[in-house]
């Protein structure tokens, strides 16, 4: 029995900021102080506040330490763990020290969240099945196997109103029902889509790293519901920690008999295998994913037939996203009414978002559907750094669109986002401020889809490339107003004729920026100016002679030797030589460099 638990985040974010070294130091220090039998070290999954990592939480007093360095460990052990004096300087205080927040749930970051899919992330040790069981793990599987018929399970999921969290928002229960016919006579498959590929999205990775068993349990439940005995998790190879923990979890579940033959003595068999993706974005599309599991090149195939009829190896298959799976056991245990009491009329439950871009609290948050974008960005996300002005938020990654400032109070759910030309997407939420050029953003996402297009169908392979060329032209100041019309025409044709979701949604970032920020496109074309000062071909750097003190710092740092001038006299930038890298601007102590 331990009197205190020290939770150290072992998610990808904190691991890359040094949590492994912290764990090692912690072990040594506890031993040195003779505390190893009194205090337990628990390596957990992601806590969400990745920007402030590495994160450490001490229970039972729930003291939340952020940005812990390996050399801080000795102090934490001798002061807090031995003597009970929390190390004030390391406690996360949300820049409001006067209130001296020490408790985790008191911070704005956590207070406005509702954690269903992430409930165990950062709480349990994901490599110990017993800890998952302690939080009612595998109880839902036991319940469905012993108390419910497969049809009752499907009805319950339907009643909960759960919709797919991978992006499109298709009702999960309906998907299961489509695949439920002819139980016991046909081989069927249950698949988990963990090929999370949107730039800036890491929701699924965090669930797999923090609570891998929840996915296994949910897949077994679905196996029972549709009559399948085999599951596959398709996870991208770029997630080594997630893969390792899944392997451990599958091994432990098999050892306990929670996967394998005759689970809970009910005669139900179910097993799960891992398949690693090789880094192609298109493999997140359901038919391409299945083609890849089959051992073929990851390319989509036309639908219908839908996977529920003819999926993996030509057999009826259901495929759900990691976050969707993470909701299932909770819905079974707490009932569909409990789940549908959270959220909006047509979007039930919560949604996990990965906050990124121009925001203070980069990290992972789970909010009830219907929370406003303002709450997410200002309260939970801690606002935009440097007091800059909010311009737009991009949801849905390269398939989605942007939410401009005029919709800052929009209640986030599937239908509201679609109505304004964006989409829920898998949950990446990238915040942009006044310094972001929207044409440049559209170009970034389109570049991504051009790179990731599998090339099977012409609209996507050729069409997106043509759109990108037009955007290149515009950002170089060579665009014409006719180009905008061509862009819109191309976008329409690609959306209508591409084979799979990747192509059909690829034009969205362009369409939505055109819809809300047409003036920026026009400024690039008509005035040959980039209002945000991002597009290099359209900006030049100058030195304000009134502000320049002639300190020579800019000239000494210029990589192109483009700055000339005498000491203590105003300097001048040679526009011909300037490569527009911005180094001079970063170095000038007097704000004398102007970009226009």
């Amino acid at each position: 029995m331990y009197r205190s638990h020290v939770l150290v985040c072992g998610g990808t974010g904190c691991t890359s900021s040094g949590s492994q070294e912290i764990l090692q130091n912690l072990e040594q220090e506890l031993k040195k102080n003779g505390l190893e039998d009194e205090i337990a070290i628990v390596k957990t999954g992601c806590h969400g506040l990745c920007a402030k990592g590495p994160i450490m939480v001490v229970y039972p007093d729930a003291v939340f330490y952020s940005e812990v360095k390996p050399e801080d460990v000795a102090e934490i052990v001798s002061e807090h763990l031995l003597k009970g004096r929390p190390v004030e300087r390391l406690i996360y205080d949300e820049n409001e020290p006067e209130e001296s927040r020490v408790s985790l749930n008191d911070t704005n970051f956590y207070k406005k969240q509702t954690r269903i899919a992430l409930r165990n992330c950062g709480v349990i040790n994901p490599e110990n099945i017993d800890e998952y069981i302690a939080t009612r793990g595998y109880e839902a599987l036991g319940k469905v196997l012993t108390e419910m018929t497969p049809d009752e399970v499907i009805q319950l999921i339907l009643d909960s109103g759960l919709r797919g969290r991978g992006g499109a928002g298709f009702p999960t229960g309906l998907k299961w029902r489509f695949a439920s016919g002819n139980r016991g006579n046909v081989q069927k498959y249950v698949c988990c889509n963990a090929d999370e590929g949107d730039p800036g999205a890491f929701m699924d990775r965090s669930v797999l790293e923090g609570d891998p068993h929840v996915v296994l349990e949910a897949m077994a439940i679905a196996g029972y519901a549709i009559g399948s005995n085999q599951g596959y998790i398709y996870v991208r190879a770029e997630y080594p920690i997630a893969i390792e923990r899944l392997r451990i979890a599958i091994g432990q579940a098999r050892e306990y008999g929670l996967l394998g033959k005759d689970i809970f003595g009910t005669g139900f068999d179910f097993d799960i295998d891992l398949r690693l993706g090789a880094g192609a974005f298109v493999c997140g599309e359901e038919t391409a994913l299945m083609t890849s599991i089959e051992g073929n090149r990851g390319e989509p195939r036309p639908r219908p037939p839908f996977p529920a009829v003819k999926g993996l190896f030509g057999k009826p298959t259901i495929l759900n996203n990691v976050e969707t799976w993470a909701n299932i056991p909770q819905i079974i245990l707490n009932g569909p009414e409990w789940f549908s009491s959270v959220g909006t009329e047509k979007s039930k439950g919560t949604k996990v978002f990965a906050l990124g871009g121009k925001i203070n609290n980069t990290g992972l948050v789970e909010i009830p559907m219907g929370t406003t974008l303002r709450t997410v960005i200002e309260d939970i996300g801690g606002g935009i750094p440097g007091g800059k002005k909010f311009k737009a938020a991009q949801t849905g990654g390269p398939s989605g669109g942007c939410i401009p400032a005029e919709h800052f109070d929009i209640e986030i759910d599937y239908d509201n986002l679609l109505a304004i030309g964006s989409m829920m997407g898998s949950g990446g939420l990238i915040v942009m401020d006044e310094d972001n050029c929207m044409v440049d953003i559209a170009k970034f996402f389109l570049q991504f889809t051009v790179d990731e297009s599998c090339g099977k169908c012409t609209p996507c392979r050729v069409g997106t490339k043509r759109m990108l060329e037009i955007l290149d032209k515009i950002t170089e100041g060579k665009g014409t107003m006719e180009d905008l019309t061509t862009l819109e025409d191309l976008a329409y044709y690609i959306k209508e004729s591409a084979l799979c979701g990747l192509g059909q949604t690829a034009p969205n970032p362009v369409l939505s920026t055109l819809r809300y920020f047409r003036d920026e496109y026009e400024a690039h074309i008509k005035e040959k100016k980039c209002p945000a000062g991002v597009c290099k071909s359209l900006i030049n750097f100058y030195i304000d002679p009134d502000k320049c003190k002639g300190c020579t710092l800019c000239a000494r740092n210029c990589p192109a030797n483009a700055i000339k001038g005498e000491v203590r006299n105003p300097h001048v930038i040679d526009i011909e030589k300037c490569v527009k890298c911005g180094t001079c601007m970063d170095n000038c102590k007097f704000g004398a460099i102007i970009k226009k």
Partner: protein
């Protein structure tokens, strides 16, 4: 795993372990002074005994935590009991046995063990 009972047994065994990784604002807090003075006069056995008892008795709404020096070093080990809605009670010169008595009579029984409290000592 051949039965739900097996699952239940693991859950119960582990619940005390994982259970206290949550903030329970309605529960009782038992705080042990663990500064140098407290440790020197024997606070660690007191703390460990309290933790053990709370776990053995599966008390989910009692949290045992520690604090620093409150300035009454000669009366250490000091244990403070915070029950929701009630005034804090400070116990002084505690031992493991006394702590168990306080746990049983005060934390669980609701009767303050006056003999061990700070009020008994004329400051």
């Amino acid at each position: 795993m051949k039965s739900l009972e097996e699952l239940k047994a693991i859950r119960e065994k582990m619940q005390g372990q994982v259970g206290f990784r949550s903030e329970n604002e309605d529960g009782t807090r038992v705080v042990v002074g663990m500064a140098t003075c407290g440790i020197a006069s024997g606070a660690r056995p007191v703390l460990n005994e309290l933790v053990k008892q709370v776990n053995d008795r599966k008390l989910t709404d009692v949290a045992v935590t520690q604090t620093g020096c409150i300035g009454l070093c000669q009366y250490e080990p000091i244990v403070e009991v915070y029950k929701p809605g009630e005034e804090k009670v400070t116990y002084v010169k505690m031992t493991a046995d006394k702590a168990v008595e306080v746990l049983e009579k005060h934390v669980l029984g609701g009767t303050v063990v006056e003999d061990y409290t700070l009020n008994k000592i004329k400051l």
